[in-house]
Amino acid sequence: MRDTFPFLSRLGLGADAGATDIRRAYARELKKINQESDPDGFQELRQAYEVALQWLAHQEIALAESEPANTSTVADPEPMPAPVPPLESTDPYQLADQAFSLFRSSAQALVLNNESRHQSRWKAALQGCLDHENLLNLTARTVFEARIAHMLATGWKPGHETLFVVASEVLDWARDSRRIQQFGEAGAMIDRAIDQWKLYESMPDNAKVTIKQLIQAVRSTPYPEGVATRNNLLLFHQLTDRFYHWFSVILDRETLQNWHNAAQAEIQRNGTDPAVPLQYLETPAETGKSSSSGWSGWSGWQITFLILMLIKGCAALINSSDHGTSYTPPPAQLEQAIPGKTTAQQRLEELQSRIEPGMLAHKETPPSEAQLEAVQRQIFYVPDPAKVLGVLKVSFDVELDGSGQVINVKKVQASRDQAYDDAVARTLMHTNAFPPGTQRRFTVSYSYKTGGL
């Protein structure tokens, strides 16, 4: 057992362990621990068990991918006989289909009758379908919800801007992000759109008015080149990064692309004038604190809100309890073990593939070393000679669209120099190093060794 993973040896298992072995070993070890008097020991065992299950899920996927498709008939387990007789033999997917086509026809009616701006009408249409007999079945309900998410994520149609708001509330996506995240790519996209919409909602009124006016301008001007004002183009340029997903849900994609091009052209012609748009967008640093007004004794203190820091991914999963690094598998394993397909994801992909065949059909390739290096070469950064910084390292979650264009970057680990982080983010946002079909999400780290150390 020398060359097995630490999480397997904690369970007394070798690298050939299967699901039953892992469960059995966990059960055996669990019975030796008193959860209440030894919570640390319990948590350590639990983590070994969870990592082992993830490792196993990853193994199974790797195995399935390496084997030809016809073996799937062998792997298919005999379906368990239901201990209780099923109530209705109706297929939940069929039930969902019927309800969804009902929803589609009422949506069409709304648009035709020029009522697609009324939240109450959309609410009634959506609620009407949700209350439909067919959707009492929980599986059918989930499929129906997935279809709504997919409909919103695949491009704006008249009325979607209202449906987006209504669905977020009626389906509780706004309050419970896990509920929307279950719908794969479409869900992740809507989830971000909701975050961005909530961000907009939390802005001061004057900023909201500015953004609202811009959205109206975009909507009424599908071809902005030579028509839109310089202010609007620059404002669009500023906002499009921050509100990318939200805009994609509530605005026509072709129009967005036209605006993007027009804004780029405008910047090339005249350069940016950062003083114009940004002033509208300052978030209310002080007023946001009003909720903590009970804290009178500390009035001398500065704004005391906190910033969310890294701790993401595997390191957090495995080491979050200060147990040292005993369970860290080699990095190569880790990269795939965690973002890889857990059973949950498998299930959802299965669900999705039934919803939208072909959506998952194309294969994505991770970015190559050469592509990442190409980005590195494009980073323009000059360290401040007055600061002693040492080695700077920054990590970003990068999100691409199907064409290889970077649509969003999210900092997961900051370096000590904001300027460097900004430079890397800027480069990533504007690079064309990634070809179409590149993996849509990945994490990338860049480092820079400053002089003087």
């Binding site: 948590q43 209780v84 599986t139």
Partner: protein
């Protein structure tokens, strides 16, 4: 000996682990269910259970029920001129149950496992533990109700591998848990719930509808006595509908008779908003457990309200099959608590059984999100412990100030799932002074520790100085401090409780009084005479005479109860 207690909204039960199986203990009336009601008698003695429930109708201002809903709040109940908190009323129930167990087992009871709704918050859990202390019980463990139900069910399946869902609709709360049973491990995969959905809400909706349909003057809602007898009528009709196709709601007041016919279809229509609310916790629990309905081997019903056919039908429709009805839904939670007591006492019969539970909601802090440049968006919620993480668990996250000039961090702790902190439940906050050194990590490590009882501890460590600050949830409304608990324990101990061995006769009298109020005309006079005779017989203080009189009186009570019921349907 550790006992298991189901401290319910409507009824409470006590059970022990005995000879390798859980056993319910009857109260002095011989019932397993003790109504969670407290009443103060004319002479100031406290009545608990059935007698108190009878007096809800005859003496609404000196009786209380449904106080579990106010655990962890500062609501006061005034009974007979004395103020009680929900913890204190619960403590009186616990004390009565404890005495029943002591009488049955012949030994003092000092330790208990008390069940709470899985979705009970930190404050509500602490209040339940305080209630235990006030009753002189050391609470060995707070056990989630659906987990208890699962234990009672799973103990018969322990050799198997199975996945099942517990659907627990009690008097006041609704809980759902998804469980995985393998190799003797009972693992809760996910829990979800609604703290304000239970059988009592069905009754309230029916009352509202009754007021509307029968045009009962709205002013009568202020009449405690009228309302309590209305509640009793509606409950009776609701229960009757579980067996018969229709029932008639009827009540007399000031010479007018109000009535409303009720059948299943009407009940379903009136309670549709409540039935719809059953769905979302089920969906959430399945989602968090990564399961679809087809993966479940069984659906286990717990809680008295699952007796209602409309609820059962709703469950069947949601899952596409009928639920399992193997266990008595009223008793299953208490039985599970007794199994947990057996586990806690390391009983040999349970050697091969172990249970793990989860935190049913996310716990985290309020953060600001960096938008780029020096812009921040404030008030976001960042979970430290994600919901349905296996407990006990301890997790750390690192946070740092947004500005270099900042000299302190305020860590606001929240419970919930919403993206914005303000939409979640605030649990408390820690203020951490920091001094920043450029080029160093000026952040704070925030550690959340959630124990098996569902109680939270938060610690913040300043990385630079290694100073640790602990969250103090004091000053949080609705929480008693240890000193207050001691004071109130002493005060409660001075209360005069009706002696246990005489409660049976007292309960019969309370029932007689309630019936007297309900009946009219000749029947009423007749019952009045019976009550007087019984009281006189008791004054003789002769056990044989009392017993004989009680037998006769009981027959009369049964007769009149039947009469009053027939009267309703006429």
């Amino acid at each position: 000996m550790i006992v298991g207690i189901d401290l319910g909204t409507t009824n409470s039960l006590i059970a022990v682990w005995h000879n390798g199986e859980p056993r319910l203990i009857p109260n002095s009336l011989g019932d397993f269910l003790t109504p969670s009601c407290v009443s103060v008698d004319e002479d100031g003695t406290i009545l608990i259970g059935k007698a108190a429930r009878e007096r809800l109708q005859t003496h609404p201002t000196s009786s209380a029920a449904v106080f579990k809903r106010h655990m962890g709040s500062n609501k006061l109940f005034t009974l007979g001129g004395r103020n009680f908190r929900a913890e204190e009323l619960s403590a009186l129930i616990l004390r009565a149950l404890k005495e029943d167990a002591e009488a049955a087992l012949g030994q003092p009871i000092t330790e208990a496992i008390i069940t709470v709704p899985a979705y009970f918050s930190d404050a509500q859990r602490k209040a339940t533990r305080a209630a235990g202390q006030l009753a002189g019980l050391k609470v060995e463990r707070l056990l989630n109700e659906p987990t208890a139900a699962a234990l009672a069910y799973g103990i018969h399946q322990r050799g198997q591998e199975t996945q099942f869902l517990v659907f627990d609709l009690g008097g006041g709360t609704f809980d759902v848990s998804v469980l995985d049973l393998f190799e003797g491990v009972m693992e809760v995969r996910a829990s979800a719930g609604d703290n304000f959905l239970g059988g009592e809400d069905f009754v309230n909706l029916l009352i509202e509808e009754f007021f509307k349909q029968a045009s009962i003057p709205v002013g009568l809602k202020q009449d405690g006595r009228f309302m309590q007898s209305l509640v009793a009528q509606v409950e009776q009709a609701k229960r009757k509908l579980s067996e018969a196709p229709e029932a008639l709601l009827q009540i007399h007041h000031a010479g007018t008779t109000y009535s409303m016919p009720l059948d299943e279809a009407a009940l379903e229509r009136i309670t549709a908003p409540l039935l719809a609310r059953l769905r979302s916790p089920v969906e959430r629990a399945l989602r968090d457990a990564n399961l679809q309905t087809a993966n479940l081997d069984n659906i286990v019903l717990a809680g008295g309200a699952t007796r209602m056919p409309i609820v059962r039908r709703m469950v069947a429709r949601m899952f596409g099959r009928f639920p399992s009805c193997d266990l008595n839904p009223d008793e299953v939670v208490a039985l599970g608590a007794a199994v947990q007591a057996g586990l806690k006492m390391n009983d040999a019969a349970l050697d091969e059984v172990v249970m793990t539970d989860v935190a049913p909601y996310s716990l985290g802090v309020e953060v600001s999100m960096h938008l780029g440049g020096d812009q921040y968006s404030h008030g976001h919620f960042d979970p430290v412990i994600e919901r349905n993480t296996v407990v006990p668990v301890s997790k750390v996250k690192n946070y740092h100030p947004t500005s270099e000039r900042q000299t302190g961090l305020r860590i606001n702790v929240f419970q919930g799932e919403a993206r914005m902190a303000r939409d979640n439940i605030a649990l408390g906050s820690i203020e951490v002074p920091i001094s920043q050194v450029p080029g160093q990590n000026n952040g704070v490590d925030v550690r959340f520790t959630y124990d098996a009882n569902g109680l939270l501890q938060v610690e913040a460590t300043v990385l630079l100085t290694k100073q640790t600050h602990t969250l103090v949830i004091e000053g949080n409304p609705g929480m008693l401090s240890q000193e207050e608990i001691k004071e109130r324990f002493a005060a409660l101990s001075e209360l005069k409780i009706h002696p246990r061995d005489r409660i049976e006769f007292r309960t019969m009298l309370a029932r007689g009084e309630r019936l007297y109020q309900q009946l009219r005309g000749e029947a009423r006079e007749h019952l009045g005479r019976q009550i007087m005779q019984f009281e006189r017989a008791l004054e003789a203080q002769d056990a044989r005479i009392s017993r004989e009189a009680a037998r006769t009186f009981n027959e009369a009570l049964e007769y009149f109860e039947h009469q009053s019921f027939l009267n309703l349907d006429s």
